[in-house]
């Protein structure tokens, strides 16, 4: 038959229907090319996210915009492509405000899932802290442009009965965002509105009132996890005989939730204490470093000048610096103030807020009080960080396993159940 073509993907030969989209051909043959914008075969393809970047006959291009032809040679998984793909996801994380713990779509989010999938713990790109429009104008929908990744799915797919666009791109460059046409949106049925929310690969399009209907833990990408308990390795015990490993911990601009999680291994903690000695840490209430430590564990980002000093001291006094929790890695909840000027924040908190005393007009300041920074910074924008443990909070077993494996200098692969941002 003439419309069957022979193609090579990553060195293996396959047969496929001529002219079919490469991402779909790969999928039919059990090969996975990650994508975000591609949700079904549309013509022309959207080709916006560029995550499906592959190499076709030595030239890089996006898989979703490539039609298969006789004799084509495709590479999906060489190291450069894997790195490029990961980088694009990281770019999306850095460009928008993706705070999974406070996002309605967490667990149903395609981008979050790709993040897990590619083992992203931190974005190599500095966070931009986007200040785009959050549009509540429509009676039924919310458009959170800071989460939008401009995949164009909604623009392509959601139309009124007479074929008019409901969503459209406006502006250009970094300012590009999706705008709702309120008049046309009102014409959609409730099912169509829900469909719009469900095809959004992130939490940008939300239907008011039902965003939390599906409980966390039972969502599309949630897996019921039975995490195993930490077993202290015999090898580790022997190694530490001549002296315990010294660990220091601190919480900067965080909620101490990550520290609570540290204690969540219950009685296993006693085993941990056999090989680990805590130095400066809120767990021991030791305020000052008394010696050089093997590992420093830091929770929280930097919101004030004291945070910066403590973090820098940790970097100096700890051979290996591990930051854990979302706040330390990308600023987390405290970083939500990054979209508002510091002045406004302070006035709201101390002068104009509903709970402030009548006539209050003083914003606390003294040479002994740390100064607030202009915004909340993730730890890796201040000092070099050796390891990142994402999660809000990270699973207790996960934290201790990472530490154990660092001390043992062993490679450690993370199970999906333990590895969650939210």
């Amino acid at each position: 038959m003439t419309n069957i073509v022979n193609i090579t993907i990553d060195g293996k030969k396959y047969k496929a229907q001529k002219g079919k989209n490469l991402v779909n051909v790969a999928k039919e043959n059990g090969l996975y090319i990650p994508t975000l914008c591609h949700f079904r075969e549309v013509d022309p393809p959207l080709g916006t996210c560029r995550i499906c970047t592959v190499e076709v006959d030595g030239k890089t291009t996006s898989g979703c915009t490539t039609k298969v032809y006789e004799g084509m040679n495709v590479e999906i998984n060489n190291p450069e492509l894997l790195n490029t793909r990961k980088a694009i996801i990281e770019m999306l994380f850095a460009e928008g405000n993706h705070f999974c713990p406070s996002c309605e779509k967490s667990g149903n989010c395609d981008m979050q899932n790709l993040g897990y999938d590619m083992g992203i713990t931190v974005s190599r790109f500095p966070h931009v802290y986007s200040k785009k429009l959050v549009d509540f104008t429509s009676d039924r929908m919310i458009m959170e442009s800071n989460r939008c990744i401009l995949c164009k799915r909604c623009v392509e797919e959601i139309k009124t009965k007479d074929g008019k666009d409901v969503f459209s791109f406006v502006k250009r460059g970094v300012g590009t965002r999706v705008q709702i046409d309120y008049e046309e949106e009102a014409k959609l049925t409730d099912e169509e509105a829900l469909y719009a929310m469900s095809i959004c690969p992130v939490g940008a399009i939300l239907v008011k009132g039902i965003a939390y209907e599906q409980p966390f833990g039972k969502r599309k990408y949630d897996k019921g996890g039975n995490s195993k308990q930490v077993l202290i390795n015999e090898k580790l015990k022997r190694k530490s005989k001549d002296g315990k490993f010294v660990v220091a911990t601190t919480s900067l601009a965080g909620c101490f939730g990550c520290h609570m999680s540290l204690l969540d291994i219950n009685t296993e903690l006693l085993d941990v204490l056999e090989i680990v000695e805590f130095n400066k840490s809120p767990l021991t209430d030791i305020k000052k470093f008394s010696k050089q430590c093997d590992i420093g564990l830091v929770e929280g980002g930097c919101a004030n000048s004291e945070n910066i000093e403590v973090l820098k001291e940790f970097r100096k006094k700890c051979d290996i610096l591990v930051v854990f929790g979302e706040c330390a890695i990308m600023g987390g909840i405290p970083a939500m103030r990054n979209f508002i000027s510091l002045k406004e924040c302070l006035e709201e908190a101390y002068i104009n807020g509903l709970t402030t005393e009548l006539g209050a007009n003083v914003i606390p300041n003294h040479e002994d009080i740390p100064k607030m920074l202009d915004k909340v910074y993730p730890c890796n924008e201040i000092v070099k960080v050796d390891y990142f443990i994402p999660g809000c909070p990270p699973n207790a077993n996960h934290i201790w396993k990472v530490i154990k494996n660092i001390l043992l200098e062993e490679e450690y692969s993370i199970t999906h159940e333990e590895f969650k941002y939210d």
Binding site: F125, I149, L150, R172, V174, E183, L346, I382, V383
Partner: protein, 575 residues
């Protein structure tokens, strides 16, 4: 209403009222039977369309790097002081001020457009005078500058191809002696390349359009000259508009197209009427219209379509989108334009300069063209030279001319050249060890922009200007170009503040490569070029900018800067 008229419709409102009101948008959306937001999506894509009222005089000041080194900051401050308005805000009843990307005036910077009339070689004093005169009610047209660029160099006598005497209709008369097939062969034989910057073989394009059967075909003249630093297409239209038009007519004859469109960038609309005049002269001489010069069934008409301020529309595929009344996003296509282009019909999109050369090749014969230049790139090329040179302007040079010759006493007379940007921000920078490189296909190609910077210019400032340009002009559709260029801009800014390490240099190269690999169109694929080249080619400069690496602490954090906001706020509350 036909969607292809959308840009013109929007222009009518913009020029008449200074903005496009919600009412107007609603009216247009009904006419086209599309949603309101779809019209808004087009309006907000183009720089020169406004949705909020603007002043009687809209001033667009060029913020390109050449403008910057020639005194942009002072001129900008003068405009703000004299008008009492702030840049990039809505302005008042009288004035609105906006920054804009290169307006094709690099030999006369700083330059601005006031209601789309050019004002060049601006100084704070000149600005003061202009604004005072406008407030006095003087006529804007009388105040505007003459903008013809100086033709600083062309080969002697017979050797000049473009800048030699022009006789209207000569190349068409000559061309009609041949069959369309023969015309295409002549162009192919002359190895003419697309001179807008992509250097795609023109003969191949024409031939492919010719061979694609269709009832209608189009010839589009790409006059969306947006690459910062180039102004040769403007000069061509001002000196030799007929030559360009004849190129279009010949392309029509060769391919069987009967309709030509000049996509003129909005920045050049002050000579739109002059081109219209030339077109009427052509019509009167039966060089346009029906049965041209008595050749039966050889019909050809040309109209002008105004762009609306978008760099990416200079790319053929985005230009066609724009012509069809949409956002100028380079589309995902499985066809070339010569098969399914404008209105899905076979279309040739050629740059202004390319069409002018096509005319001359037919007029003078391909052998004359082939006798000059290099093996792979025969003939001559127009360059727009600007920056730190004594003689900025237009140069017609033979392909194969070396950079050192271009900088020398015979030509532009550069003063201690240090950083040369060939082909604009999307091109390549050249340091002084490479001055013997030659402008030709075999070595380094140049689309037209040739910017010279001397030793006193700060390289990071140049690069930042380039990155800000791409950040602004990216269409925003694909991730690497939209987010990547933003992230690289922030990186350059950080380096400017002295907060960088060797790691930043490595990251620029790695991140730039990712953007180049994965972007959707030429803009993203070339935007990090200058930055990547510069960190390697100007190592000495960058070494001075980078402090010795500190083993533990990232040196990039500026505590003083981070607490400055708090300090000043507290200070305010205490006084």
């Amino acid at each position: 209403m036909d969607r292809t008229h959308l840009l013109n419709e929007l222009w009518q409102y913009q020029l008449k009222f200074g903005f496009i009101s919600d009412k107007a948008i609603s009216r247009i959306s009904k006419k086209l039977n599309v949603s309101i937001v779809e019209i808004e999506s087009v309006i907000t894509f183009y720089h020169f369309f406004h949705q909020k009222p603007t002043g009687e005089y809209i001033i667009y000041l060029n913020n390109s790097i050449i403008s910057d080194i020639k005194g942009y900051e002072a001129v900008k401050a003068a405009f703000e002081k004299e008008t009492g308005c702030t840049f990039n805000e809505d302005g008042d009843k009288e004035f609105s001020l906006f920054d804009t990307s290169c307006i094709g005036m690099s030999d006369q910077e700083p330059a601005a457009l006031i209601n789309f009339l050019p004002f060049t070689d601006l100084t704070p004093n000149k600005v003061k005078h202009i604004i005072a005169s406008l407030k006095n009610g003087e006529n804007l047209e009388d105040l505007a500058s003459k903008t013809k660029s100086k033709i600083q160099y062309h080969p002697e006598g017979e050797k000049a191809i473009i800048f030699r005497p022009y006789e209207m209709g000569k190349s068409i008369e000559e061309g009609l002696k041949f069959t369309p097939e023969e015309i295409v062969n002549k162009i192919s034989k002359a190895k003419l390349l697309g001179l807008g910057g992509a250097f795609f073989p023109v003969g191949y394009k024409w031939n492919s359009c010719k061979n694609n059967e269709a009832d209608t075909k189009y010839i589009i003249c790409n006059a969306d000259e947006g690459e910062p630093g180039t102004f040769k297409d403007r000069a061509l239209f001002q000196y030799l508009p007929g030559l360009v038009i004849e190129g279009m007519i010949l392309a029509g004859y060769a391919t069987g197209a009967k309709e030509g469109i000049i996509y003129l960038r909005a920045e050049y609309q002050y000579f739109k009427d002059k081109i219209e005049d030339v077109l009427s002269v052509f019509r009167k001489a039966n060089l346009l219209g029906e049965n041209i010069l008595g050749v039966k069934d050889f019909d050809f008409e040309i109209r002008i379509q105004l762009g609306a301020g978008s760099y990416v529309c200079g790319a053929a595929s985005a230009l066609i989108e724009s012509l069809e009344g949409r956002r100028g996003e380079p589309p995902v296509r499985f066809w070339s334009a010569t098969k399914h282009g404008f209105r899905h019909k076979p279309t040739v999109v050629n740059n202004v300069e390319t069409l002018a050369y096509a005319s001359r090749i037919i007029e003078l014969g391909e052998d004359h063209f082939l006798s000059m230049g290099t093996e792979e790139s025969p003939g001559t090329k127009l360059l727009s030279i600007s920056g730190d040179v004594a003689k900025p302007g237009i140069y017609e040079i033979e392909f194969g001319t070396s950079i050192i010759d271009l900088l020398g006493i015979e030509m532009s007379q550069a003063t201690s050249p240090y950083f040369i940007q060939v082909s604009g921000p999307s091109g390549e920078c050249v340091n002084n060890t490479e001055f013997n490189r030659r402008i030709c296909k075999e070595d380094i190609m140049c689309g037209g922009s040739f910017m010279v910077f001397n030793r006193t210019r700060d390289i990071l400032n140049i690069l930042r200007n380039f990155m800000e340009f791409f950040k602004e002009e990216s269409c925003g559709v694909c991730t690497p170009c939209r987010a990547g260029n933003y992230i690289l801009t922030e990186k350059v800014k950080k380096m400017q503040r002295g907060l960088s390490s060797q790691e930043d240099i490595e990251e620029i190269k790695q991140w730039g490569k990712i953007i180049k690999l994965s972007s959707r169109c030429g803009l993203g694929k070339s935007s990090p070029n200058s930055l990547i080249y510069a960190v390697d080619k100007f190592k000495d400069y960058f070494n001075l900018k980078i402090p010795p690496t500190n083993e533990f602490l990232n040196v990039e954090f500026d505590m003083e800067d981070a607490v400055q906001e708090f300090d000043s706020f507290i200070k305010d509350t205490q006084t």
